[in-house]
């Protein structure tokens, strides 16, 4: 293979979906680090293994997080990507941007890095992929001058993210963007200076559709909900029906708790408020006719994580309903209590859910000072092994 040729990667320039290989090549023509990245990636495709090593200690002064150290195992062959560190940049809540600030980030990254990025990482940050150890500090300084800061990494609070919320979604029961921004500003120290047994993630979604997958991938999940009934506009319901919607087949019969009934005579959608579990189905399918209630707040769930180490968890209910109004002191107090307890009792690399499983939810509730409620479980225990203390 002649120098600089990438026959395997070239295959990924074909086809209709936009190609990341084309993107690397766009930079490779003017940036030596990106050119080497392309070479390293081609070799991985040939060798079928990664050519990156564990990171070392790199970072910017004052922070223990936000930078991922990265070195290739072939520094002689690819000197321009020998060190190829990543910066995590805390995104604005909701991933909204004005073009001026985006262009500023591009200019800074053109000067100090490879010019390659992820918009965005799965936790939420803007990922700037690939720079040298020497460039980290000046790049960071330029970014803070432009109003941006690093996100979390290591055993720290990770960058907080969530769904678009009230900015563009009629179903949001809470102001996700404000919650994200407010908590992010409050917990700058926890984000930038890792000190816990392991990582901790907070995500928020405005309604039970959970577009940001908060329930699956955050240790602390905030999901918007409401306590009263649905708002139903019967006139609009009839419009859907008149336009041919199979209201029994697609709405009423799919309600998980039989909270709806279509009365064909009076042409009215009956709603049994007590039976509704606020699953969103009928709202999703008839957005013009059915809306969430107005007594709004959030359900707080905890413990969600990927499988490492003891298996995957979905977050479970801790507080069925909490009002969410600035400055969100109740949430902040709860978080601080949880962190203190986890830090005191958790083993190295033990996530919150794993610690709770080890010592028991009962113990956790007692230490945090929360009363058990039936909404926390699907069903009570079936076995008789109770430690009655």
């Amino acid at each position: 293979m002649a120098d600089g040729e990438t026959p395997l990667l070239d295959e990924l320039e074909k086809g209709p979906w936009p190609s990341y290989v084309k993107e690397i090549k766009r930079m490779a023509s003017k940036n030596a680090a990106s050119k080497d990245l392309l070479g390293i990636q081609e070799l991985s495709y040939k060798d079928k293994v990664t050519h990156w090593k564990h990171g070392g200690i790199v970072g910017v002064t004052g922070y223990g997080a936000g930078v991922i150290g990265r070195y290739t195992d072939m520094p002689d062959k690819f000197p321009n990507a020998a060190a190829f560190h990543t910066l995590r940049i805390n995104q604005p809540a909701g991933w909204f941007y004005n073009t001026k600030s985006l262009r500023t980030i591009c200019d800074i990254w053109e000067k100090y890095g490879s010019g390659m990025t992820n918009f965005h990482g799965s936790t939420g940050d803007i990922i700037l992929l690939g720079t040298t150890t020497e460039n980290l500090q000046p790049c960071f300084d330029a970014l803070t001058d432009a109003g941006f800061d690093l996100g979390g990494s290591g055993s720290a609070l990770r960058t907080i993210s969530g769904c678009v919320g009230k900015a563009r979604c009629e179903w949001s029961s809470i102001d996700t963007l404000d919650i994200i921004y407010n908590l992010t500003m409050e917990f700058q120290d926890e984000i930038h200076r890792p000190r816990w047994p392991y990582k901790f993630k907070i995500k928020t979604s405005g309604c039970p559709n959970d577009c940001s997958a908060a329930i699956a991938r955050a240790d602390f999940t905030i999901i918007g909900t409401w306590k009263d009934g649905l708002r139903i506009d019967q006139e609009k319901v009839r419009e859907y029906v008149d336009k041919g919607m199979d209201i029994n087949g697609l709405i009423v019969n799919k309600c998980p708790t039989y909270a709806l009934e279509w009365d064909g005579k009076s042409r009215e959608l009956k709603f049994y408020e007590d039976d509704c579990v606020r699953c969103m189905h009928c709202i999703n399918k008839m957005p013009k006719a059915i809306r969430p209630g107005v007594d709004t707040g959030a359900t707080i769930l905890i413990g969600g994580k990927a499988p490492i180490i003891k298996g995957a968890y979905l977050s479970w209910v801790l507080i069925p309903f909490m009002k969410m109004e600035p400055p969100y002191d109740e949430v902040k107090d709860l978080l601080r209590k949880i962190w203190d307890w986890w830090d005191e009792n958790g083993r190295t690399r033990e996530r919150l859910a794993e610690l709770i499983e080890r010592v028991g939810l009962k113990t956790f509730l007692k230490e945090i000072g929360l009363k058990p409620v039936p909404q926390m479980v699907y069903k009570p225990r079936a076995n008789p092994y109770v430690f009655l203390k």
């Binding site: 970072g59 004052g62 223990g64 997080a65 290591g154 190295t348």
Partner: protein
């Protein structure tokens, strides 16, 4: 909460001299000070460039060489 003093920061540094690396809560336990205060002191030492962080599956701090 009490403020971070120079003595406290020195105590942290003295402790870190005796180990290759440590976690915040170990530092607090070993020098017998309040954990929140020690967290704050360590943050200040970080900003002053006197300690650095390392990541070995979990995060630790150590004195800067």
């Amino acid at each position: 909460m009490a403020e971070v003093t120079e003595e406290l920061k020195q105590k942290v540094i003295d402790y870190l001299k005796t180990v290759t690396k440590a976690k915040n809560k170990e530092v607090a336990r070993e020098i017998g000070e309040d954990k929140h205060l020690v967290d704050k002191a360590i943050a200040e030492l970080g900003k002053e460039g006197k300690i650095e962080y390392l990541y070995l599956g979990a995060s630790f701090i150590k004195l800067k060489e």
